[in-house]
């Protein structure tokens, strides 16, 4: 098992954001983290990234507690992209990638920036300030930053949120292509069910801080007697039961 989450909980003051969740991520698989807004997805990602201290439970990476790794030792194996987290707006795309490449200690940084900017087609606005870019362009730059260190574990929080269908499809195709060429374990939080069906090997469904069901897309759709993942999501999200 590559990553194991054991009895993980987070309480903010008296609010229970994540309630004793258990799941694991197999190496090089893509796992979808689904659930309504405020169900604890972002807090779970935050705890995995070391940004949020769990109230109880543990995160194991290759059977070793996350806390036993040095901060820089573990974080160089991770990366994260989200449209809600931005790169410095006043810096150009090139400058941002250079800085994050240096922070991640990338050797032959020029070559890596060249590769990734070609793949994600960001060369044409390379010298423009990041704050001046469109949402689609910003998302591609954010994805480039998240892949600059060729992470072993990639956490994506709604990577195609607020994008037009064309750019959304470009990003999804790129993630698929990248996965086929590189060894990477992906945890994808998304509200786009077709995206989840297309990219994920299995799914974890959360509601009110708890995991209410998990399995492959096909299994979950079949288990809940629905026609597609969207209908399954609605059933699970609106139901008061645990499955």
């Amino acid at each position: 098992m590559f990553i194991e989450i054991k009895n993980l909980s987070k309480i903010y003051n008296k609010y229970l954001a994540v309630d004793k969740i258990n799941f694991h991520l197999e190496k090089d698989k893509t796992i979808g983290l689904l659930g309504p807004n405020g169900c604890g997805k972002t807090t779970t990602i935050g705890m995995m990234l070391g940004l949020v201290t769990p109230s109880s439970g543990e995160i194991l990476i290759e059977n070793k507690n996350l806390n036993s790794f040095g901060r820089d030792e573990i974080l160089k194996r991770f990366n994260f992209a989200s449209p809600y987290v931005e790169l410095p707006k006043k810096l150009t795309v090139r400058q941002n990638l250079e800085i994050y490449g240096r922070l991640y200690g990338i050797k032959d940084l020029k070559k890596r920036i060249h590769e990734i900017s070609n793949d994600l087609e960001i060369k044409e606005f390379f010298e423009r300030k990041t704050g001046e870019l469109s949402s689609g362009q910003k998302n591609r730059v954010s994805l480039a930053k998240s892949l600059i260190n060729k992470p072993e574990i990639l956490l994506l929080d709604e990577p195609t949120a607020s994008l037009d269908p064309d750019i959304g499809d470009f990003i999804r195709s790129y993630i698929q292509e990248y996965k086929s060429k590189n060894k990477v374990t992906v945890l994808l939080a998304s509200h786009n069910m077709s995206e989840v069906e297309r990219l994920c090997d299995s799914i974890i469904m959360m509601r009110k801080g708890k995991i209410i069901d998990q399995g492959t897309c096909v299994d979950l759709i079949k288990k809940h007697g629905r026609n597609n993942l969207e209908e399954t999501f609605l059933k699970l999200a609106r139901s008061q039961d645990e499955f």
Partner: protein
């Protein structure tokens, strides 16, 4: 310590300055205005005060040194605030960089911002008012060191507040130095303060720094013990500032504020 990472963070702020001419102008503008203002006040006091007569430039030198402290602290705060304003906080704190490397990078980069703002103002003061801080001689280096450490400490305390209370703490960032200025005895001797405040002021490095500056310029005597005292006090405050920063960082992780810190 990984100096490549420290350099990367420094570079992030250097690019920010280089990409914006108005930003450079803003850095230079305020210290220059200060020099003009205090230059004329200084000139007036020199001509009309018994305490300051024949000691041209004491007030202006004090104003320059105080501005150095002010700029160091504000630079430190500004660099941290830039991360909040640009919503880059999460990216920064998930990068494989140690907290001590972040502190070192901010501390080292703050000097650059400080000097960009202050050097032109200091140079202007020489032909315009006939005052040069270089008249303080070798002790100037040590006085600046003590001021810088204390300025960075104030920056650390304010950024700790930003980590603890979020961007709403921003106003405190601007007010922090004005709060300490009366106790710093920048333009007047410590005896002016009421006895109780003198005790508090003695515990700050500022009193020792500015007393020493006046002593050098007015009496031509250097008391290195006083300088060492000011540096030692600054170092103690700096260590305290670092500890508070770490506390706030772990507190922020507990509260989950690192995840969504932004405007």
């Amino acid at each position: 310590m990984n100096f490549n990472k420290i350099y990367a963070l420094g570079l992030r702020h250097l690019y920010l300055i280089m990409n914006s001419f108005p930003r450079v102008l803003d850095l230079i503008y305020w210290p220059t205005v200060q020099i003009f203002l205090w230059g004329f006040i200084s000139k007036f006091f020199t001509l009309n005060s018994e305490y300051y007569n024949n000691t041209v430039g004491v007030i202006l030198t004090a104003a320059i040194l105080y501005d150095f402290l002010f700029r160091a602290s504000i630079s430190f705060n500004m660099m941290f605030l830039e991360e909040i304003w640009s919503r880059n906080f999460t990216n920064l704190f998930i990068a494989p960089i140690k907290i001590r490397e972040i502190i070192t990078a901010l501390t080292l980069t703050a000097i650059l911002r400080t000097l960009i703002g202050l050097v032109p103002a200091v140079l202007i003061a020489i032909p315009l008012f006939g005052v040069s801080v270089l008249n303080l001689g070798v002790p100037l280096i040590f006085l600046l060191l003590a001021l810088y450490l204390f300025g960075v400490t104030l920056g650390l305390l304010v950024t700790s507040g930003l980590l603890r209370y979020g961007p709403s703490f921003e106003n405190i960032a601007w007010a922090s130095l004005f709060f300490l200025a009366p106790l710093g005895c920048i333009y007047y001797p410590i005896e002016i303060l009421p006895t109780t405040l003198q005790i508090i002021a003695e515990a700050l490095p500022l009193v020792h720094i500015f007393e020493e500056m006046r002593s050098i310029l007015m009496n031509n005597t250097v008391n290195y013990l006083n300088i060492i005292k000011s540096i030692a006090i600054s170092v103690i405050y700096f260590v305290f500032g670092v500890i508070i920063f770490y506390f706030s960082y772990f507190g922020a992780k507990k509260r989950g504020t690192l995840m969504n810190m932004g405007e």
